[in-house]
């Protein structure tokens, strides 16, 4: 009875799951949507809250090889990268190493050959994640708590033994 119930519920849940789309390009934030080259297109940036370091810029739409991504910082610093094919269908992506926090303009030319209108989006990049040691106060807040608890426990047990 139990075995059959397990199987039944597992089948129900798994069959519901099977209806869903298996999104290969999991994660990221959609920063632009629109139409280019006669098809719907979008730009995804990963991680969703970009910080100083490597960010992934993905173009979803009609794929074109050798698309160039240009990132320009508000101070004038310019970084370029070439898009590579992705495992996911209709996706090409490039990785950019952004070294400075602040406002960046990301520009993608979907197809220079046919002179398609370039896509340009603004991206605010945060400072790099602080080192874990700068959060040590919060990270190890349990140490004094455990010490106090341990001391109280030792005292209590001594009291119990004496009693």
């Amino acid at each position: 009875m139990m075995h059959r119930a397990h199987t039944f519920f597992l089948c129900v849940v798994l069959s519901l799951g099977a209806w869903t789309s298996a999104a290969e390009a999991d994660g990221g934030a959609v920063v632009w949507t629109g139409e280019r080259l006669g098809a719907a297109a979008a730009i995804l940036v990963s991680p969703a809250s970009p910080r100083v370091g490597t960010i992934d810029v993905a173009w979803i739409g009609d794929p074109r090889a050798a698309m160039q991504v240009v990132a320009t910082h508000e101070s004038g610093v310019r970084i370029t990268a070439v898009c590579l094919a992705s495992d996911a269908a209709k996706e090409t992506h490039a990785q950019l190493l952004l070294s400075t926090a602040g406002a960046w303009r990301i520009e993608i030319q979907p197809n220079a050959a046919v002179n398609a209108a370039p896509v340009s989006v603004e991206l605010v990049v945060d400072e790099a994640m602080p080192n874990w040691s700068s959060f040590a106060l919060y990270l190890f807040a349990w140490v004094p708590l455990a010490a106090i608890g341990g001391f109280a426990a030792a005292r209590r047990m001594r009291g119990l033994r004496v009693g």
């Binding site: 849940v13 999991d26 994660g27 920063v31 708590l145 608890g149």
Partner: protein, 767 residues
């Protein structure tokens, strides 16, 4: 800007911690102050509104110094930095002592914490000796003089400005020195100063002399004393020397006013002895008796919310309203855009409901089950038909729930449930149909108790909650012969008031395990002896003895397995959204060659299996009790840590994705033709995480791991006591260490997850 004048991030370090401490201590003080005032006229005369105002005044000064823009300005202007120091040493400490904090704080923490932790701690000879030494006027004067002179020396001051940690140390020194100094001057009840009151006059004058010497040195110096401000001042258009003279004036004049003003007041009180209050007598901890049974803290006694919660009609209305909301989400999932971030079904259940529910459960108890919309059809249909058949015994264990929760986690990760509004709508509909069908076939709350995976998750969260449904007075239950809380009864109007659908007998009920907070027992009890009362979070997990309906908890391996799935499922679920784990999964999918679904399913199942292996290994290394009991006890001890991981994860989504509901709602309104403009798809994404979020997440983890270590400790103590083994500290420690190492390992993994870049779910789904 040269590296030496870069601003430090001291604000980030201290502000969230100070805010959290302010909130927590204010709650504790307020509770204790109210309790003391209820104790009689004498207490009301001592703990006046002025005391409360002084406490909040102290915190306001501290927050202004450490958690306001003043902290940032202090790195640029010496005068602002000096204001910070004045607040820390001369304003906040006397205000805190004027609030007489000792007794309200002791009464505010609750009986359990007072007797289990504070009483043994404060009665320890070493602690008493230390407190007595710290309260000596010589110590108070020495520390304030040392802190004032040492921290104003150029090398120490510059070190504090360059390094955020030293900056925090400087502030901590100033505040502690201020507290110790003003303790002898204010002499708050029940502190007894060993020096006569008049001796405080030269004490204050001497402190003023030190303050004057440092101020005069700064005021009459012809060059800027601190290189930091000399370098940074011109960049901000300020004159460093003028700024230094202003700072010296601020230190000198208000400082002297406070010190000498205090001395004058004491002299006046000495000259007019009839105004002098009698010296406070020392109060031993035995004056803190166990409270008699009362409604104190009962949520059901609060003016508006309590009345609504006591009414079965109001509870049913709440469920019906939520059911209507759920049906709207289902309709949007079925008929609306299948772009998950733009659909109510793709955002509200995953981002908002989960976050709000976990906060509410931890604060108030399992209110998420109480408001569960799945109960609405059952409540309505049972007005006409009440099933009497019990759920088959084979289905009453938690093994089905274990399988369902694992299946749910696998489906969530491997099939990306969150990305398909249609699937979500179908699952919700399926839940409503199955729950109603089960509850119409079997008596009580059969679906909630054994089959609902969400309910099991929420009940486990409830075990670390700060409130529990329990009897107010055990003596009333002992006299009761009708047991209506279990069986139900007819009301005065002839209507039937059902008893507990989960067969929990209130006098024998311990904690929140298996309790859905439906509050039927509140209406069924003819003695109004059931309340939603405050409890020590996690305390029920250390008590693994017999309890109503559950039986002997330590013998319930199925519940232990559920607890492990809960904890390790939390870690796996959170890890599944981090960039490094996703990269590994993508690489593994390529190696396996079977796509990402299998890799993610293996990741979830493997992660949970690792948890079982780890717990079994740790339980096997100890010798106290049976292996089965050790395994169960360790599994229950993991629950606070599991709850902390879930909390950190869901609150992250709630905070960063809060705006997604607005976008999905606007899209629905646009589809209905009520709003002309269609919201931009870009708006549906997550906001950057605010600076306070990471400290809150890490603090929650710290609380979780502390709770887990504490629960496991008391579990070992209880096991040794039952086996009549020697209960020495070291023997318990040896039994505790393997499990504690295991708990710390999970904590380390969870902390690592918190520091990883997060790949926000539900932001993809573009077609």
């Amino acid at each position: 800007m040269p590296a030496e004048v870069l601003p430090s991030n001291g604000f980030l370090l201290s502000a969230p911690l100070v805010c959290a401490a302010a909130l927590l201590s204010s709650l504790v003080y307020g509770r204790g102050w109210r309790t003391l005032r209820r104790k009689g006229v004498a207490a009301r005369g001592r703990f006046t509104a002025f005391r409360m105002a002084a406490f909040f005044g102290g915190w306001s000064a501290l927050l202004l110094a450490l958690a306001s823009p003043l902290d940032a300005v202090a790195e640029r202007l010496l005068s602002a930095h000096m204001v910070q120091h004045i607040l820390l040493t001369m304003v906040a400490p006397p205000l805190f002592w004027l609030s007489l904090p000792a007794m309200p704080m002791l009464f505010g923490v609750g009986t359990a914490a007072r007797t289990a932790i504070l009483a043994p701690l404060l009665s320890a000879p070493v602690v008493r000796l230390m407190l007595r030494a710290l309260g000596h006027p010589l110590v108070g004067f020495s520390t304030i003089a040392l802190a004032t002179i040492a921290w104003h020396m150029p090398s120490a001051y510059t070190l504090a400005l360059r390094d955020p940690w030293w900056h925090q140390a400087e502030h901590a020194c100033m505040f502690v020195a201020g507290m110790l100094f003003w303790l002898c001057v204010i002499a708050p009840f029940p502190y007894a100063n060993r020096w006569p009151r008049i001796a405080m006059v030269p004490y204050l004058v001497a402190a003023d002399l030190v303050n004057t010497a440092v101020s005069a040195y700064l005021a009459f110096s012809s060059v800027p004393v601190y290189a930091w401000y000399a370098n940074i001042g011109p960049a901000y258009g300020t004159d460093p020397l003028l700024d230094q003279q202003l700072a010296a004036g601020l230190m000198w004049v208000p400082g002297s006013v406070l010190y000498l003003g205090g001395a004058i007041l004491i002299t006046i009180s000495y000259l007019f002895p009839h105004r002098v209050h009698p010296r406070a007598r020392r109060i031993p901890l035995t004056v803190l008796p166990k409270r008699p049974p009362s409604h104190e803290g009962d949520l059901l006694q609060t003016p508006l919310v309590g009345r609504a919660l006591r009414s079965s009609g109001a509870r049913l209305t709440l469920r019906c309203v939520l059911l209507a909301l759920v049906l709207c989400i289902v309709l949007d999932g079925l008929l609306g855009s299948q772009d998950a971030p733009m659909n109510l079904a793709g955002t509200v259940p995953w981002t908002h409901w989960r976050g709000v529910a976990i906060v509410a459960i931890l604060a108030v108890g399992n209110v998420a089950c109480m408001a569960c919309p799945l109960l609405a059809p059952r409540s309505l249909l049972r007005k006409w038909f009440t099933p009497t058949r019990a759920l088959p015994r084979a289905l009453r264990s938690k093994w089905i729930a274990v399988a369902l929760v694992v299946a749910w986690l696998v489906a969530y990760e491997a099939f990306d449930l969150w990305s398909s509004p249609l699937a979500i709508a179908m699952i919700v509909l399926g839940f409503i149909v199955v729950a109603t069908a089960v509850d119409m076939c079997f008596a009580g709350a059969s679906f909630c108790r054994s089959l609902c995976p969400i309910g099991q998750y929420q009940m486990l969260l409830g075990t670390v909650s700060a409130r529990s449904v329990r009897a107010i007075d055990a003596a009333v239950c002992a006299r009761c012969v009708t047991h209506d809380c279990l069986k139900g009864r007819r009301g005065q109007g002839g209507e039937f008031r059902p008893g507990c659908g989960l067969d929990l007998f209130i006098p024998k009920k311990i904690g929140n395990l298996d309790c859905t907070f439906c509050l039927d027992c509140v209406n069924a009890c003819p003695h109004q002896n059931v309340g939603v009362l405050p409890v020590l979070p996690c305390a029920e997990l250390a008590n693994a003895g017999w309890r109503s309906q559950v039986g002997t908890l330590a013998a319930r391996v199925d519940v232990a397995a559920l607890a492990l799935v809960f904890t390790f499922g939390a870690a796996v679920n959170a890890a599944g959204m981090t960039a490094p784990v996703l990269r590994v999964l993508e690489a593994s999918a390529g190696v396996i060659g079977a796509g990402g679904t299998l890799a993610q399913a293996c990741f979830v199942v493997g992660g949970i299996a690792c948890g079982f292996g780890l717990s079994s290994a740790a339980a096997g290394m100890s010798s106290v009790g049976s292996f089965r009991e050790r395994f169960a006890r360790l599994s229950f001890a993991f629950l606070p840590l599991g709850a902390a991981i879930w909390f950190a994860h869901f609150v992250f989504h709630l905070v960063t994705g809060f705006a997604t509901a607005e976008v999905a709602g606007l899209r629905v309104l646009h589809d209905l033709g009520w709003v002309s403009a269609s919201p931009d798809r870009v708006m549906s994404c997550c906001a950057p995480a605010p600076a306070w979020l990471m400290p809150v997440e890490l603090l929650t983890l710290s609380l979780g791991v502390s709770g887990a270590l504490g629960v496991y400790w008391w579990s070992i103590v209880e096991m040794r006591a039952r086996e009549a083994l020697a209960r020495s500290f070291s023997s318990v420690l040896y039994g505790w260490i393997p499990g504690a190492v295991c708990i710390l390992l999970v904590w380390a993994v969870a902390a690592w997850i918190m520091f990883q870049p997060m790949e926000m779910r539900g932001t993809f789904g573009f077609e």
